[in-house]
Symmetry: D2
Subunit: 288 residues, 4 copies
């Protein structure tokens, strides 16, 4: 047995009633789990209780493969909970989708190779060959699948096959400029992370920097969100902004925007990997 | 004659050609004007030259009341310029329009009474009596004109009469919750400053904080802009933002937003008073 | 009996051991308190558990005036807790200390008169008469106590008498430019809030804007902190910053700084009033 | 002859007197230079005039290799100017110094390989072999020179030889954790760019994140500056900040800081490459 700490991470939500938090923490304590993180939040508008708790499994009395069943039986049924259970020693598998722009890809791979992202990246998919050299540099398989709006139905099958074979947990669209089909979205609900190059909901759709320039805004932004069937309307994970002036051009919007996009996307990925994002009614609870 | 420095401020734009800046600065220098501020900007997309120059009139050879005529004759005609000339010793007259919320009004009056705003405020107009006590505190006439969408045509005449009698130069809508008629907008082109409580162009129109809350944004904003005939679509003067989280409610959006709104509006007013805003094609050049 | 909700607010910290959170929440639940806010945090460096919990007392079985005693006996002794108990229907009494600058004072009074601050302000103290008119405008007693470094010992006694008579809970130094004596600090531990016009710990002491200008920084800041015996070194409650450029002067630093100072100070006051600040080892835990 | 536009870039400062700007722009216009950028700034405290002007050389009457001489004779001598002249088609040569941390290095190389930085990078120098693989990935020579405080005098000679042979124009310390000798600083005055992982002047020297954590700040920063003989006290080029809370640890300060550091350093490098930085009395004028 290794010495590395193995934690269980539990994310849950349910109708808010008295005693849930005490019940859950008591369950963990009684069974000798040492809580290392606990955060909870009550949405008083919708009357929903949200919680993230993480505990050390070292002396936990319930075997890891039984925790889900026990928790379902003892609590989830009783409190009408929806919950997810994760283990810190299981690295999620992330697929990267890119097109022609390299900044987000480089930012992710730099963190990945520096050991900052607790994730596996089995492969990169692109609809263009332009960035294959980046995959090659970092030794990550790079599949060119020249998908476009005319062949989407067919080529997405190919993508889905790759995703399935590699047991991909979630997808990151690192400036991937193609629509994702409803089928793929349904296969990866709240598991496809996009970066949109505007401060959503301003400037939905194509060419947001041009639109922002036309409008004469004084601040531009970037938004990372989960992909849903409605374009650029999924749950927002992270946003950030930077000032611009009348001296900026569309080109300098694009240049400033690159730094925003890569940082915002990487922050969102990290929150997702750390299991600190909970989606409820098209909004996110981001545990800190 | 007083010792206080009197400056001329010239704002202009024209098609960009060689030598304009040299010609204008030469004109000022030759006539013994001491330039104390000069900034210029060329919009290479539209090929337009913009300039703000301010000079000390102390030894200037051309009498103040002749500068406009001379400049028109010598330069404006030649270079197809549009220009505005101001004098630093003439305080602009600002009318405040408010409804029920006090935060922007207080922020403006606090700066005004502390001598931070080089402006006169002859009166406040409101469609509600709620804030009359604030006007009274600060000794500023407060006109309650209960305008609404049904009586707008009639009551705006009353407002226009007040504005005209006091020689008002520009109007500030300090969370005034009424539409301004096209007639009033035409009478005060690029001289009606509004504060909209969102990061425009996101959440145009009523209840932007509710809309932002519904959308689940992670950042909210405020936007100060000149009023044009299209709702919330006029030239943006200033914007700023603040982070929110899932823990925020519509009420806390409103509370955080108040601080944004008042600061953004006051910054816009100050830029306007300092003659550092130039409007071109529904966008602003903000000289620093 | 009135219909207004009355809440108890409990702030505590203690050595971290298993089961504290469950014990405390269970105590509240069992006695029919409805928890409306709960946040906890564990400092794993110092191994300390921090918690803020707020519950509706409407059906709580323990009388309000007995809660402190019960909690001390049942939990605080057992877990070596330090705790504070507050009730939401008791408005804290805040004394304002000012000198000559009005911006922070106006910002606080604007919020106060608009009903945004759940606090009483029995009086304002100043070492100069300059801002007496502001107190008069808002109908708040304004005591001019011309304290300086030579007469501090004597005149602070006068101040202490006023503070005691009015049962002042905490003091806000709204750009009050005098040193506070160790005696007064000890009388109001973690209850004197200062605003320092720099991004601490940069530019401690006098004339921080001049120092920042000399150093050529690209960002200036403001810091609100509790006053301790060491100058500008107390626990930081809130900080914020704004960009400056080479075009800024000391005067424009001061002007930009005013907006920072007032917002940062008011945010800190609000956190203090809401009992969301917990001080531990010269640092603050700020509950959100 | 190629079609690519070749521009001259002139940076200058001199005592402020009337007519400089007109004289310089006139000189360019008269000789058929098309000005594509002009910005000027007057420091009224020190009474110094600063200017950056860029013009298209396509039809300029003075040969490129004579401009410096002519300008010196005609203007610089007369106005006691200090000036620098650059040509847009000559890419500066930049040496990268690194130690063990990869985030800044990756960020620079990602921009470089994407063609976003108009610079050549002949080699990377490190005092550790740890990042050699990164240089190898990007095909950039990586010299391991195991310099430390005991062998600095000797090994810096080796570095200086490399820098000289490659005609290096400026050096970027991309989290290089060694002191630079006065000799090297004098050889590259205002041409060694460092990134310091704090909001200077707070937390000068080693371990600033630890110091920031100890102080309990609510915002951390990063600062890029030119290296001078006084540690962390050179002219500041760029700074930026990010919020932290009591929940952050030294490790999360470090993680958040990495994103700040790389963006701030890359922004500073870009300003330097674009010849938009002018140093005067240990401060920078940053043209936009």
């Amino acid at each position: 047995m290794d010495n590395k700490q193995k934690n269980a991470i539990l994310l849950l939500h349910c109708p808010d009633t008295q005693g849930i938090l005490a019940a859950v923490t008591d369950f963990i304590n009684v069974n000798k789990g040492n809580i290392v993180y606990l955060d909870q939040y009550v949405d008083y508008v919708n009357n929903v209780f949200f919680m993230r708790v993480e505990w050390d499994l070292n002396q936990f009395l319930i075997p890891s493969d039984k925790i889900e069943e026990y928790f379902q039986t003892l609590f989830a049924a009783k409190y009408q909970m929806e919950f997810s259970l994760y283990f810190s020693d299981i690295r999620p598998k992330m697929a990267l989708f890119v097109s022609k722009m390299s900044h987000c890809l480089f930012d992710i791979l730099a963190r990945y190779t520096a050991g900052e992202m607790n994730v596996d990246i089995p492969f990169i998919i692109s609809n263009h060959p332009d960035l294959k050299w980046v995959g090659d540099k970092f030794g990550i398989p790079f599949h060119v699948i020249p998908l476009n709006k005319d062949n989407r139905a067919e080529l997405e099958k190919e993508e889905m096959k790759l995703l399935k074979e590699a047991n991909i947990d979630f997808i990151v669209l690192a400036r991937y400029m193609q629509i994702i089909s409803p089928e793929m979205i349904q296969t990866f609900p709240n598991n496809i992370i996009n970066i949109h190059h505007s401060f959503l909901p301003a400037f939905v759709g194509a060419k947001p920097y041009h639109a922002a320039y036309e409008r004469g805004v004084k601040i531009i932004g970037a938004t990372s969100h989960y992909v849903t069937s409605e374009l650029d309307a999924g749950p927002i994970i992270e946003q950030d902004v930077v000032r611009v002036t009348h001296k900026d051009t569309v080109n300098s919007f694009v240049a400033k925007g690159r730094d925003l996009e890569k940082i915002v996307l990487s922050r969102a990925i990290e929150k997702h990997i750390e299991r600190k994002v909970l989606v409820y009614k098209n909004k996110t609870i981001i545990f800190s």
